[in-house]
Each structure stands twice: as structure tokens, then as C-alpha cells.
């Protein structure tokens, strides 16, 4: 089966600009996650969707970050305006209720550099 797809793989922007990331989960996976991974750290959950509803967005900086999952499949994560500290890898993951509880499948990530 095809894995989790993400695009773009790399993005360089200047501070105060906006940027959007796209994720296509594994077919049939109802749960979709966006993580932020700063260099040298573990991934931090930003938002979790179940179908097209938000399950957890407690760590999403809502003044600048937004995410949506229209039709319960693809998802986009947007940052507007970007700050220097947003430089990180943004990982998308998905999981299926039928899989081992909590096992997640990750995409290759988008490396964002804010200058």
C-alpha cells in the first residue's frame, strides 16, 4: 500500500511570510496527525484529526497556525505569519482504528527554514 505523502519536501521562506504544507494519508486511515520536530528533539503533536473533526489541537499556536482536513482525507497545515522559531520538520502521520492501538505511519516530512 502507498505510504503517507507530503509536499513540499523542503521550503525556505522569510519571516512574516506564509507557508502551507499538504498531506495525503494512507487510504482508509481515519486519524491524521501533524507534528513539529525541531532539530535535536522528538516530534511534538500539533493537531490530531479523526475523519474531518479535530480531536486535539491543544499545542497548536492558533494565532499563527491553522489546519484543516476537508472531506476527511487530505489535510493542509498553514503558518501565517512565520517566525524564525518555526524552523523545523513538519511531519504528517496517519493511523487506522483497525491497526494496533496507537501505531502511526509517518510521511517523509517537510523541512521548513525561516530566515
Amino acid at each position: 500500500e502507498a505510504g503517507v505523502a507530503q509536499s513540499p519536501r523542503y521550503k525556505i521562506i522569510e519571516k512574516r511570510q506564509s507557508v502551507a504544507f499538504w498531506c495525503n494519508p494512507i487510504s482508509g486511515h481515519a486519524t491524521l496527525y501533524w507534528y513539529q520536530q525541531i532539530l535535536g528533539q522528538g516530534p511534538k503533536l500539533l493537531i490530531q484529526f479523526q475523519n474531518n473533526g479535530v480531536v486535539d489541537d491543544s499545542q497548536l499556536p492558533k494565532d499563527r497556525f491553522s489546519a484543516e482536513r476537508l472531506k476527511g482525507v487530505d489535510s493542509t497545515l498553514k503558518i501565517q505569519p512565520a517566525k524564525l522559531e518555526d524552523s523545523a520538520v513538519y511531519l504528517c502521520a496517519s493511523s487506522s482504528p483497525g491497526a494496533a492501538v496507537g501505531e502511526q505511519y509517518f510521511g517523509p516530512g517537510t523541512r521548513l527554514t525561516v530566515t
Partner: protein, 110 residues
């Protein structure tokens, strides 16, 4: 916030040796998982151990879980250069939610 603290932060060994990394966490969990991240690639799930299990094996991997001490260990036997990667523990809590640790960087030299 990150729940898991991993130890050591970095580990350097020779091929054929065993590698052990430890993870400590703070709150009650449903399960604990280990993931591997190679340079430039996404995270790959390695193994999952449920809170009512004490030990689990998968190929060259052995995971133990001590819920009374809130700790877990991952043992990789007969390491290979291809095992060079960062390893993360992740605690499963709530509804399919994972909280990742800080990671251990493993370097296996030929």
C-alpha cells in the same frame, strides 16, 4: 510537552555489539512504542508493548516495560551499520495519541 526522557542521548558502538537505550516517562500509559528515524527520512514504527506486558521481542529487538518504575528499555542485538539512526520512545495515551521522548542517537561503526 515531551513525556519521555531517553538515556543515553547518544551511543556509539561497533558492529556486532548490542545497543541498549532507556526511556522514562511520567504518567500512566496504554502502551509504549519505539520508533526509528534515519537521517532525512520519516519515523518508522519498530515495536509496541502494551501496559500489561513486560517483555516483547521482534527479530533483533527486545523491549521491556516496567510500569511500576515508569521505564522501558530497547535492546538491539548484533548491531549493524544500517541500525545507525535516532530512536524514540513514544507513550500511547488517550485516543490513539502518542507523546514522544527526546530520542537516542545511535552510531554503529563498521
Amino acid at each position: 510537552s515531551q513525556q519521555g526522557e531517553e538515556d543515553p542521548q547518544a551511543l556509539s558502538i561497533q558492529e556486532g555489539e548490542n545497543a541498549t537505550m532507556n526511556c522514562s516517562y511520567k504518567t500512566s500509559i496504554n502502551n509504549l512504542q519505539w520508533y526509528r528515524q534515519n537521517s532525512g527520512r520519516g519515523l518508522v514504527h519498530l515495536i509496541l508493548i502494551r501496559s500489561n506486558e513486560r517483555e516483547k521481542h521482534s527479530g533483533r529487538l527486545r523491549v521491556t516495560l516496567d510500569t511500576s518504575k515508569k521505564s522501558s528499555s530497547l535492546l538491539i542485538t548484533a548491531s549493524r551499520a544500517a541500525d545507525t539512526a535516532s530512536y524514540f520512545c513514544a507513550t500511547g495515551t488517550g485516543f490513539q495519541k502518542l507523546v514522544f521522548g527526546t530520542g537516542t542517537r545511535l552510531l554503529v561503526s563498521p
